[in-house]
Every structure is written in structure tokens, then in C-alpha cells.
Subunit: 308 residues, 2 copies
DNA sequence: ACACACTGTTTAGAACGTAAACAGTCCTAG
DNA sequence: CTAGGACTGTTTACGTTCTAAACAGTGTGT
């Protein structure tokens, strides 16, 4: 075949891209890469990444450890494939709405994935994670900003920002979830325990501001700080878009637009941008009302017993 | 002593807080926890976290592996102490200037630390990283916002946002740095190699937006996308501060997201969503026209020599 | 029908973390 | 001042981990 594995391609990635030539001679295979990866993911979901050993995965499938090496060249490959499966594909819903709604959907889906497969966050960072699924997420992120007048560097930066927020939220929230499960405590119990520990260790003279925050009860607060952070970040993006529309760049950065700035003087563009801003405002209002309605409906539903 | 180790305190943390009662009977100690941790950090700096084994650290100090267990209860403890040393303390410079400058300094210093000790990012997340140094960073972050009218939850959220940005930047940048060192290539070389690989794998029909970004050369661009992200985030914080007069809006928490599907049956929500969709469509149209106008204007301008 | 590519298995080895037992050292209670 | 024992660094040992290499059986292409 002409499509034999590229020598530079780390083999596991080639497998992820589906460039895998199944052999035709020899006995029938009893297993498949998919089943192995599935078993490994189940195991990691249940007991964490550390519990995933070749022996454990094999025994879960009823085989000897070494049999796996007929399907996977090394454990690292298996982990990469696990990561790929856990990453999955963004839903179609991430293509609905304006750029902000899309990015918010992407953020939410990513966090959800991290919550479902927290061990992904424990996988040591390999050099180039150029897998089909991670590419799909990046594509979806860039698509979210496709209607904006931003250049591709800016778009990528923003996608990275959202991705980073999701990962960070995943790290911290998954850490809490793990502590809950390991300590067999409810969320508020562990928060209280941590708060008590902090009150003991964080003195007012060594850490005045942190101590004040503790006194204010921030570590007992049950609201999600990460959504707040994402909201502020996207506010900033929105402001940047608005500034771009008006041609203000109070934000001096070396790499961005050199020629776009000149465009602003054009009358028709200015008018078009004004209309965009109006449309954005209308959309914001509509979304606010929608959220309001959803919240009220949610409360109404919550009072009735769940149908599930 | 009354200050004997709290049974709930994971011992390693107790060590980090300096609640360590050195024994007085018995022979003089030949080593110290500090020397062990130093040696381990040096090793990790040079060859990565995976190279840090008890045997390797001990041999670097000229001792047998088991001797370390007289100073450290387990490898996890050692890793925690390594993390603590690598984290260090924020400089005094992070207390200069207004909130924005302070947060930017904190971000920069954190990224620098991650670049100097990339292995920190490989340490699996333990439940409560309540160590003196991490507390100091958090304190510095909260101090940065001490002059603002924000409440403590908001301050903490913003500090977490900046911390997350720094960590994310560290992850990606350290990944690049590692690839550079392992492959013995310069930064632009590895970027070119990755770009070539992407061009081969990312097809225009499977990943249209990502492909377009590649064509635009985003992966060859040498500018730092993370500073851009941080700038936008802080812009958003600034906007939030400017609009501090508004009341709190409640943000849905991540564990409440899943039941959104149930809400759809509500009539008012449906109507609100319809209106949102209309607004979205209007915005899309407006943007399309704006882009059209911008493109035309751009062509007109391009004919003239650029002023930059 | 033969060769041989390929299957899953067995055996083996190196490296890891750490429990347990060991001889030597030095403080402290008697 | 002396004996007990807490403490030192070391040795030995065990269980796990990943995986290379050799093995006997299976099925396909020639």
C-alpha cells in the first residue's frame, strides 16, 4: 500500500486516524482495538487512570496481559486512544446560535466530558495531540467564531482561551468530585471540612487577604466560580469585537491587524457595523429573556417530582 | 505535644506547613528533607517527573533508596514537597500598580515558574493542595483585587481565572518546549513540522474551519495566543468593574446543566427561544453584510500603500 | 500442501515502591 | 555512669508494573 504508516507519525496517532491496515493472513482475531479501549475507559472511569494496567484491562476481557500487545504497540498508545474516545465529538448543538452561545456550549460540553472522564486530566501531556477528535473540537471552536470579523490568530487564541477555561474547571471540579467519592462525603461536607482546615492553617498575618476571603465564606459558597470567569472572558471578547467594529484599538498587541484598521474610515462599513451592533444588542436582550424564562420554568419543574 | 499531627492532615501537607517535630534521640541525621527535595527537583528539571524515582534521588545523594523513607513517608509526599518548592512565592512586584497590572504580573510569574519546572504540570491532582506557597499565591491574587468593590466570591473567581490561564499557557508552552528538547529542534522547526503534519491530516471537508486556519498559517505564527486570551479576560473583568452598579445575576452551576432538556416543554421558554433564534438570524445577516462591506473596503484600501 | 504471517500464551527480566528485619549510634532516664 | 531504647542508614524481600522474546497453534495465499 502507498498509505503505509508515515515514519514520523507516532503510530498511536496513526491508529487514531484510522490508518490501520488489518492483517489478512493468520488466525481470526478474537479481540479488537475498540473493545480493548472500551474496557480500559470503563476501568478508568470506575477506578481512575492509575488502575489501568495492561494486566487489569486484559483480565477484564478474559485474556492474558500480553495479548493486548497484538493490538496496541505500548501502553502509551492505549492511553492515547482512551483519551481520544473520552474526548469524543462536540454535539451539533455547538453550532447553534451566535459566537457566544456556541463557545458557551463548547465550554459546557467540554466540562461535562471532563466530569464524565476525569482521568483524562491525569494523562501526561504528550507532544502533539493531533488526533481526529481533538481536531474536531478545535474546528468547532473556530467555526463558532466564523461569522466574526476576527482574523484566524485571534480566533485561535479565543478558542484556546475557552478550552483552557474548560480544562481548568475540569481539573478543579474533578478534584472535588474525586474527594467526594474517595472520602464518601457529600459536596458540602467536604467543603466544610476544607474550610475548617483552612481556618486552622491560614492565619491573618501571614495571609491577610486570603484569610479575609475565608472569613467571608468563599470556600463554603456553592456557586460555580468558573462560569463567572468564562462570562468575564467572553465579555472581554465581546468588547474586543465591539472595539474592532468601531476601530478603536486601545489594546495594543503586536501581531494583530495592520490593514483592517484602515477600513474603519469607510462609511458603508461603519453603517453595517452599527447594524451589527444593534442586532447583537437585540440578541443579548432576547437571550436574557430566554434565560429568565428558562430559569422560571426550571423552578416550576423542580417542584414537581422528576419524570425520570 | 498538643500540636501533634492532625489525623486528617495528610502528613505531607503537615510537613509542608513546617509542623514537623524533629526527633531528638538517636544518631545525627546525615540528610535533610530539604536536600532530598532539592535533589528531586533538580532531577525533575533535567529529565522530567518520570525520571524521579526513589532510587534515582537517593543515588544522586549517594545513599540507598530506603534511606529516604526516614525523611519522607512515601513518594507522594516527596512529590508534594517538590511541587511546593517549585511553586515558590510570588515576588513583591506582584503588589505594584493597579489590579490589572498586579494580575498580569502574577500571570507572568506563574507562567515563568511553569516553564522553569514543567513537570509540575504532570503531577496528578491531589485532593486539597492546601500548602503554604499555594496559599501565598492565592493571597497575592486576592490582594491584587483588594482595592476593587468586588465581593470575595467574585475576587476568588477572577483569581482562579488568571491562575487557570497561567496553567493552561504553561501546559501548552511546556509541551512545545519539551518537544523542542526531545527532538533537538528549534521552535520554528517543530512548528513547521507540526504544520506539515496538520496539512496532511486536516482535510477541508472534514474540518473546514480548522483547515482554513491552517491555510492562514496560524500554526506557524510565533506570537503568544495566551497573552491575547488573558488580555480579553481582563478586559471583561474591567468591564464588569465598570458596570459594578448592576445586581448579581445568578449563573447556572455545572451540575445543573443536564436537565435543560426537560425545560423545553414550557410554552414561554419556547417562545423566548424562537425570539432568540430570530435575533440570531438577524445578527447573522447583519454580519454577513458587514463582512461584505469590509471586504470591499479592504480591497479599495489595499490598492493604496499601507501606512504601517 | 506447504510456507509463513499472524494469533494468544508463556516465560523472563528490568525497574519500581515500600514493608520488615538488621546492626550501629547517640540521647536520656535511672 | 550505664543501660535502655529511639533513631539512623542498610539490606533483604515481595508484589507490581511494562514489555521483549520464545512458543505452539491457526488460517490464508501460492
Amino acid at each position: 500500500m502507498s498509505e503505509t504508516t508515515d515514519p514520523d507519525l507516532p503510530r498511536g496517532i496513526a491508529l487514531a486516524w484510522g490508518i490501520a491496515a488489518d492483517p489478512q493472513r493468520g488466525p481470526k482475531r478474537e479481540m479488537s482495538v475498540e473493545r480493548i479501549v472500551d474496557a480500559a475507559v470503563e476501568l478508568a472511569d470506575a477506578e481512575g487512570l492509575a488502575a489501568v494496567s495492561m494486566a487489569a484491562v486484559a483480565s477484564r476481557l478474559g485474556y492474558t496481559p500480553m495479548s493486548l500487545y497484538r493490538y496496541v504497540t505500548a501502553k502509551d498508545d492505549l492511553v492515547l486512544l482512551m483519551q481520544e474516545e473520552a474526548t469524543g465529538l462536540p454535539s451539533e448543538a455547538t453550532r447553534d446560535g451566535d459566537w457566544r452561545r456556541r463557545l458557551e456550549s463548547l465550554y459546557r460540553e467540554q466540562v461535562q466530558r471532563y466530569m464524565r472522564h476525569p482521568w483524562v486530566l491525569d494523562v501526561p501531556i504528550s507532544g502533539s495531540p493531533a488526533t481526529p477528535h481533538s481536531a474536531a473540537w478545535m474546528d468547532a471552536g473556530l467555526h463558532a467564531l466564523a461569522d466574526t470579523p476576527l482574523d484566524f490568530n485571534e480566533r485561535l487564541s479565543i478558542v484556546l482561551l475557552v478550552t483552557g477555561c474548560a480544562r481548568w474547571a475540569g481539573i478543579v471540579l474533578a478534584g472535588y468530585a474525586r474527594a467526594e467519592r474517595e472520602g464518601r462525603l457529600r459536596g458540602d461536607e467536604i467543603a466544610q471540612r476544607e474550610d475548617a482546615l483552612f481556618r486552622q492553617l491560614i492565619t491573618a498575618d501571614a495571609y491577610p487577604d486570603l484569610r479575609a476571603a475565608i472569613e467571608a465564606g468563599v470556600f463554603l459558597d456553592e456557586s460555580d466560580p468558573f462560569s463567572f470567569g468564562l462570562d468575564r472572558s467572553l465579555d472581554g471578547v465581546a468588547a474586543y469585537l465591539a472595539a474592532a467594529a468601531e476601530g478603536r484599538h486601545d489594546v495594543p498587541r503586536p501581531w494583530e491587524w495592520s490593514d483592517d484598521a484602515a477600513i474603519v474610515d469607510d462609511k458603508r462599513v461603519r453603517e453595517a457595523r452599527k447594524r451589527v451592533r444593534e442586532a447583537e444588542k437585540a440578541l443579548r436582550d432576547a437571550r436574557r429573556q430566554e434565560r429568565q424564562a428558562a430559569r422560571e420554568a426550571h423552578e416550576r419543574v423542580a417542584r414537581r417530582p422528576a419524570s425520570t
